[in-house]
């Protein structure tokens, strides 16, 4: 287990190093200069130059890359060109929205998908299975931003149960914060739940056909007992993979949902930063997301090993 974990950790560090270089190179190549963007169409050339110097944009790219990486290692992500606040602070503020939202959505999607998937698998081929599968087809097909607008129309404009968007902040209480995240979380969770349900069902069905399941039944377990004791655990590997991917997606991919609900999340920060060429913010957030995805995958790898002892010995 230890060797397996160390090997995974080494690949994690290598991936991060490569990612930082690629991110920096790709983002710096984009045309556009943050200083000219800030100063607009009437600015004089000397004013733009003065601002570039103030922002440190007159340094060479290599210098900027090295100071960025060395800063990050020490926890300093630099200062935003446009907002003039420390990037780490900005990211932390946004994470207080994005992380709970992603967790909320993931919890919802898991809560829907597990029972639905198990139910469908146990009713294979019968009416209940077809109904669940039909619903998931629909769930996968509906774009989440469209679904979000429908939610707003019904629950915010007509029923007035929720506000149409915005984030009340955690200062006003947990309940108020959760309330502002409810509609976005539902909009995010539904398509994810549909995917997860299908994975759960097919993974369980695969397992149900395995020899060891027949053996378990032969030893006298009921169909249900065999499913719970032996089937579920073995079916979890692909499901965990999907959950890991979904979490990364929910953290980074909520941009559109954040726009629809005007939530001050990470996605919207990146969106704003890209259009104003606030390169350091874009680089740092993308790096953070890469870090999150890689560590989630790392955690998923470890979780595989935990649920499947075969993986531990194989290394």
């Amino acid at each position: 287990m230890l060797r397996y974990s160390l090997k995974r950790l080494l690949s994690l560090i290598l991936s991060l190093a490569v990612a930082s270089a690629v991110i920096f190179a790709v983002i710096e190549v984009a045309p556009g200069d943050p200083a000219s963007f800030m100063l607009g169409v009437n600015a004089q050339a000397d004013t733009v130059a003065a601002l570039q110097a103030e922002l440190g944009l007159d340094q060479s790219k290599l210098q900027r890359y090295l100071s960025w990486v060395s800063g990050m290692l020490g926890g300093d992500f630099g200062t935003s060109y446009t907002y003039r606040t420390p990037v780490a602070e900005m990211i932390a503020d946004r994470l207080w929205v994005s992380l709970p939202l992603a967790l909320f959505a993931l919890t919802l999607s898991t809560l829907i998908a597990f029972p639905a998937g198990i139910y469908a698998a146990s009713r294979r081929g019968r009416a209940g299975d077809s109904a669940v599968m039909g619903a998931t087809q629909l769930g996968v097909a509906i774009p989440n931003f469209w679904f979000a607008m429908i939610l707003v129309l019904i629950f915010a404009i007509n029923l007035r149960w929720f506000s149409a968007g915005g984030f009340s902040g955690w200062d006003n209480g947990l309940l108020a914060g959760m309330r502002s995240l409810t509609l976005p979380a539902i909009a995010l969770a539904l398509p994810q739940a549909a995917i997860l349900t299908r994975v759960m069902r097919s993974s369980l069905l695969d397992i149900l056909g395995e020899d060891f399941m027949r053996t378990a039944r032969a030893k006298g377990l009921s169909r249900r007992q065999a499913l719970w004791r032996h089937g579920l655990r073995n079916a979890m590997i692909p499901v965990l993979t999907i959950i890991g991917l979904q979490f990364s997606f929910l953290l980074a991919g909520a941009i559109i949902i954040e726009q629809v609900f005007y939530l001050p999340g990470l996605g919207r920060l990146v969106f704003q930063a890209i259009s104003s060429r606030d390169l350091i913010v874009v680089e740092s957030v993308v790096m953070l997301l890469v870090f999150a995805v890689i560590t989630v995958n790392f955690a998923v790898d470890l979780a595989y090993a935990a649920v499947d002892p075969r993986l531990r010995s194989r290394t």
Binding site: M38, G40, Y83, I157
Partner: protein
């Protein structure tokens, strides 16, 4: 939704409505873009001015809602006979939000900072004519100009010319300290800015005790936020197609006004074939302005025939000189030796006036044989390739600075119009202070650029405000980007 949370929701809704009925001294105003920071003297972003102009920061003079100039921190002024020396008497008893007094030293500091060598003022040119700023006594400042400048008091009204305190410069971008009737209370970046009434304000106390600015960039979300009554007003509503719905709803009022935004089909005057005035004239006659206003702006916008705001008293309607006439356009192209038409590029920045308008213009140009290849660009890219690189044929952009016809006197400006006669005209205008003579010169200037068909003049961008029916005092027009909170109140 469980019963418990439903009860919670219902009771909090009740509490909110009950609170609003009593108070009515606060307002939530939505804007599309969030200001990057709150220093109007070092960035061009209009969102900064929308939040801070006359609310937090004040200048020596100010724009009123109708576009006129009024004294603000300068109580009065005297202008020397040759028009080069302005002696300002400052308002007494003005304090910054940190309690320190505003005096002549602060004025000198602010103006010197704006025109300094390392200044990062986006409108540094406004201050270029100043040769010295002198403190006469704590309440009197003398500004000496190198040459007379007829628009100097106008220039001082810009958000870029507000008076700041030297000791607050360090943190001005996130903790602005001004002399205005409102103070910054809180800024949750990405979500909202909260302002509170300044109890020690030197002037007339505002009716509102507090105000919140919310940032909603998505047009659909903007519509939902208004409909759900999450916000009380939307400063510049991004979806003109939804306005009839608000007009029909008694809960809301729609304010359609004018901005300083001349929306033009900018033409690269140095790039062949646009270096031929006949080709530019053909371009002008190929464009059906009303079709663009109807198609791209849902009918909101005033056609213009030159680079000047129609609400300005000196405006001349020159749309007749470039009326829609595709046959004439084809004939002009043939005269220029381009009977078979030609190909060019059309760069479109993100706003819908450009993206939607661009599709329509491309179709209209195709009618007369001009094939414009559309490239959608972000603003940063537009600034780099079109504005600085000047590698473009055509582009659509709204020039939102007030009274900016002077850009036509800059031969290196991105559309590269180089006419010495026009440059002389602008120099004369700058040196003229007599209002009537200025009007005549401005009219000459409008006619000159219209006659040279420098750019395709499309329409004046409308300001489309939506607010709850009870909100009073919102600006209908936008002589500058501003949301003057001091003028806002609720109907009883």
């Amino acid at each position: 939704m469980s019963l418990k949370s439903f009860v919670f929701t219902a009771s909090s809704v009740l509490a909110l409505t009950a609170g609003a009925a009593v108070a009515k001294d606060s307002i939530t105003i939505a804007m599309q873009l969030e200001p990057p920071h709150l220093d109007p003297t070092s960035a061009a972003a209009q969102a900064i001015d929308s939040v801070v102009y006359v609310n937090i920061f004040e200048g020596l003079t100010r724009f009123m809602g109708d576009g006129s100039i009024a004294p603000l921190l300068a109580k009065s002024w005297e202008i020397s006979d040759d028009g080069t020396v302005y002696t300002f008497s400052l308002q007494e008893g003005v304090a910054f939000h940190d309690g320190s007094a505003m005096d002549a030293e602060d004025v000198k500091f602010s103006l010197d900072r704006a025109r300094a060598e390392d200044s990062t003022n986006a409108q540094k040119a406004l201050f270029a004519g100043i040769s010295s700023v002198d403190v006469v006594d704590p309440m009197t400042v003398k500004v000496t100009l190198a040459e007379p400048n007829g628009s100097f008091l106008f220039n001082l009204a810009w958000g870029d010319a507000v008076i700041v305190a030297p000791e607050s410069i360090e943190d001005i971008k996130t903790a602005p300290v001004g002399t205005g009737a409102f103070k910054l209370a809180d800024w949750v970046q990405g979500d909202r800015i909260e302002m509170a009434r300044n109890a020690d304000y030197w002037g007339e106390a505002p009716v509102l005790a507090s105000a919140t600015f919310k940032f909603i960039s998505d047009p659909t979300a903007a519509f939902a936020a208004m409909m759900a009554e999450d916000v009380d007003a939307f400063d510049n509503f991004p979806a003109p197609e939804n306005l009839p719905q608000f007009e029909a709803d008694p809960r809301f009022q729609v304010l359609v006004g004018s901005t300083e935004g001349e929306t033009i089909l900018s033409t690269n005057n140095k790039q062949p074939p646009f270096d031929d005035a006949k080709v530019r004239q053909a371009l002008a006659h190929a464009i059906d302005r009303q079709a663009i206003i109807d198609g791209a702006m849902f009918g909101y916008g005033t056609p213009i025939g030159t680079h000047f705001a129609p609400h300005n008293p000196a405006y001349v309607d020159l749309t007749g000189g470039s009326a829609y006439d595709p046959d004439k356009a084809r004939a002009l192209l043939a005269e220029a030796g381009l009977a078979d038409g030609f190909e060019t590029t059309l760069h479109l920045p993100p706003p819908s006036y450009a993206r939607r308008g661009g599709e329509i213009i491309a179709a209209q140009l195709a009618e007369v044989g001009i094939k414009a290849e559309i490239t959608n660009v972000e603003w940063a890219q537009w600034l780099e390739t079109v504005f600085r690189g000047k590698t473009f044929g055509l582009t659509i952009v709204s020039h939102t600075e007030p009274m900016d016809i002077g850009i036509y006197a800059r031969p290196d400006y991105y559309f590269q119009y180089d006419n010495p006669a026009f440059q002389d005209l602008m120099a004369t205008l700058n040196a003229t202070t007599d209002p009537e003579a200025r009007t005549a010169l401005m009219q000459d200037a409008q006619k000159t650029i219209a006659g040279d068909y420098v750019n395709g003049y499309l329409f004046q961008l409308a300001k489309l405000g939506v607010a709850k029916a009870g909100v009073l005092g919102l600006w209908e027009n936008a002589p500058t980007a501003a949301i003057d909170l001091g003028a806002i109140s609720w109907a009883e």
